[in-house]
Amino acid sequence: MRNGLTLTRLILREVQRAKLNTALCLFTVMAATALLVAMVAIGRASVDATRIMMKQMGFNLLITPQDVDPARYQALDFQKGDMPEDYVQRLASSTALAQHFVGKLQKTTQVDGCTVVLTGVLPEVPKVGTQMQPMPTAFVIAEGEVKVAYAAARALGLQAGARMTIMGKTFVVNEILTEVGVIPEDIRIYAHLHDVQALLERPGRINAIDALACYCPVDVKDVVAALRQTVEGVLPDVNVQPYHSILLARQQQRVMVYRLELAALAIVMAGSAIAIWGLTYLNVRNRRREIGVLRALGVPDSRIAALFIGKILAYSLAGAIAGSALGTLAGNCFNVTGGSASFPPAVLAALIAATPLAATMFGLPPIVSGLLQEPTEVLEEGES
């Protein structure tokens, strides 16, 4: 105070005096921020949980050579058409909207009188530059070994560790897979891609790529068309066949959460705007004589406005920090989705920085209105 009164001192003094108004303002911002952070965190957790569930459901995109008839493919006729093995790597290095890739060479064949689908696979190739957990349905198989699907193993009477001969070559049964409940998955015999290529005399060739499209922007209207476009942009001579139900369910859930976040943002912003407007209006109204006195003393309007804006900035910054912490805690406490309820730190920092600006915007109309009042009218009011 040695150099006179400062705006900061005046703001602090007013905050000390108007405890209820300040507490309500702080609570409003804190509650709004906490609500927003918690809702977004839980929304993201649900997206994450869906991602895990969908991943367990398997690949949602089948990429075949262009001349393959989808109907024959569904009938397990894999005779026609193949493509280079390095297509997998090309897709993984591209900007296509898919993430996990497994190249396959498959053929329906007879083993000891049973129909099986011999499937040669390489370990899953993740999108280049990412470090993703491989799909639970993707296998790593050593050369000379096989994994036998449930129905095929039962029909052939196989156990893990047994030996079996396929097209004249002997393999060790590494694992009997659990029942999936669908054909052809339950009649597959998985072997290393290079073993199958050798058996079928098609070295360096594959006839299908399984892929998982797990990232598609929410503003894409037709996700199937978008996926086809990006994949065919990299590999023009392929067919992209989506498993619609899996693919669309995931995309719809992502869009729904995005819309839910927008709705939450709109509701929270509208509620906060009304509350801050009202509380600032009351604060300005209660202090209109003070405004009149300051103007009579020759304090410029900009400095008077700074008194109110300074208060808004102070409580909204404190409210945003406290609300973010509270919202993160609440998001984790009330996360019923099973996914990870995290809020990106950069977005949280942006939210904390943007909150005081938004609060100032909401509080500005009553401040301006207070400054526009005639000082001569309020100065004729009662004693202080």
Binding site: R2, V299, T376
Partner: protein, 218 residues
Amino acid sequence: MIRFENVSKHFRKGTEVIRALDAVSIEVPQGALALVRGPSGSGKTTVINLAAGLARPTAGRITIAGETLNDLPPRKRTALRAQRVALVFQMFHLVPYLNALENVLLPTLASPSDDPLDRAKRLLEDLGLSHRASHFPAELSAGERQRCAVARALFNRPSVILADEPTGNLDAESAAHVLQAFDVARADGATVFLVSHQHLDAITPDKEFSLKNGVLQA
């Protein structure tokens, strides 16, 4: 110096025109103490508001502290009040959440001052309020509040002091204290312009005017 030349202030209330001031001409030389007397509703507060530049006249010309208010934009009128013109109100208008010392320091928000703390303390001491420096307005008597308001008005060493019924809410003893402070300010070269509905025995004005229904009486 304060000069009103044929100053009128009219308000419109619905279809009715209220003539708060009508062709008033006043001249108070620098360093003089002037008193404008008149009953309630005679236009005294309007004179103060116009002289302070808080309101604009409907007609006429106002010159205060060497500046013609008619020509000044709002920003310059605000600066004039911050540096050269001070106001004292009947209702004191202290800021309720600031103590007496802080209220006296309030003008530093408008314009910086040398050694403000020493100046504020000295003013409170001169006005017999040094023991009340840390008290809030609600803890002060009416007389003490008005003396605090006078200390605030004197803080920037104004060349013009405008006081609207400064003793209207005070007992005789408190009123004498306040008027004595104005007398000291006049002795220091300030022009003091008081409006009051009553005769002020404690001072001898250099000039006295009478207002009735917005018209200056002969």
